[in-house]
């Protein structure tokens, strides 16, 4: 069975939804951050798949993927810093309990 663009798009959609479900359903901020990373990965898979199948000689998708990875790294750093700061102030990282605007 040959594998084409559609296979990768389905994989990307499934991974994205798994991440989405985690973001919506989990209570722990650390797990939510992990799920966001899964969603970003799903997006990059789609980008690279388009690059591979639609514009194989241009590499634009891969260039974009590099930017996405950069932003993902920045997001992880800032997100985890926020998380630790919240944990320091409230000793808790449960989203249902840190939804207050005041610390």
């Amino acid at each position: 069975m040959s594998v084409g663009l559609n296979h990768f798009l389905v994989l990307s959609a499934v991974l994205f939804s798994i991440g989405m479900y985690g973001v919506l359903a989990k209570r722990n901020v650390v797990v939510i951050l992990m799920c966001v990373e899964i969603m970003l990965n799903a997006v990059i898979i789609a980008l690279v798949a388009f690059s591979r199948f639609v514009t194989p000689t241009l590499l634009t998708g891969q260039v974009f993927a590099i930017f996405v990875i950069t932003i993902a790294a920045a997001e992880a750093a800032v997100g985890l810093a926020l998380l630790i700061s919240i944990y320091r102030n409230r000793e808790n990282v449960d989203v249902e309990e840190i939804d207050l605007l005041k610390m």
Partner: protein, 366 residues
Amino acid sequence: MLKTEPYVLNMGPQHPSTHGVFRMELLLDGETVVDMRPIMGYLHRGIEKLSEERSYTQCIPFTDRMDYLSSMTGNLSLCLAIEKLAGIEVSERAKYLRVIMAELQRIASHLFGVGTFIDDCGASGTPFLYMLREREKLIDLFEMASGARLTYSYIRPGGVMRDVPDEFWPAVRRFVAEMPRYIDEYEQLLTGNEILRARTIGVGILPREQAINASASGPVLRGSGVKWDLRKADPYCVYDRFDFDIPTGKQGDAFDRYFVRVQEMRQSVRILEQAIRDIPSGDPLPKVALFFHPPAGDAYGRSETPRGELGFYLVSDGSIAPYRFKIRSPSFINITALCDMVVGWRIADAVAITGSIDIVMGEVDR
């Protein structure tokens, strides 16, 4: 930084670097030691109680097994106490032999102490084994004199067990001639080593006032800059006839304690040179019977062992056995201030500082 939760780490009784069965309960905040509690007694054999059932001479083997790295000085301390209690005179040659043995033992013990200290700083055995090379020669010398390699029981009340054999003298002369070169070698390897300096300078400071207040003795006290050595302050045997210096440290950190030990080895070589040169002929054997009855009363005899002031407080009721046999052991008292030295440092420093105090658990637990 982060709101961290301190946790208890049990270092010991079985741990690669606690020098025997010593246990440190460390309260840690991350890697920083917040509190420390030394726990000992795992090697407690009740020597003080056992000695009450034995004659004075029979007590001497106990001192071998207390500080098993410096049996000679342990023997010497007890014999000084017994001689003080019973008023026994010692011949000149025996006094010189005692000095020679004590100084050889000091070198052997410091070699071992410095070696294990460097090992605790993370050097994987090389300096340690270099030092064991020289200690081996010393042990051979002791074997010539006493027949044993670790538990000598050589020094007896009133003299020594027997005179040293003739082949002892060339061997000890050769050792004394060679030793300064070996000490230079250690210093080359260690004293200037940037990693060792970074690990030990300023680490585990025991200030001068606290060192005195906490009854520290030996290189720990002298490392803190106190010029107090019983060989000078309260000379026994014939130490007042020799010319030697008391090395002291500057600020009382782990490096100073290391450095004092190295310098003491040099001074011991100096003493040995003079003692070997001056030793009179004569009979070093004890003039007292194996069992004797000291008059009722008490006496405190002490000497400067490699670890500090080892004292024996003996109470006699006139019988052949001591009524009370108290050991003032330097290792035990030196760790009084260990907690203050360790708190605020990291785990690695706690190990290095404990190593720099150079405790022997046989003596701590007795």
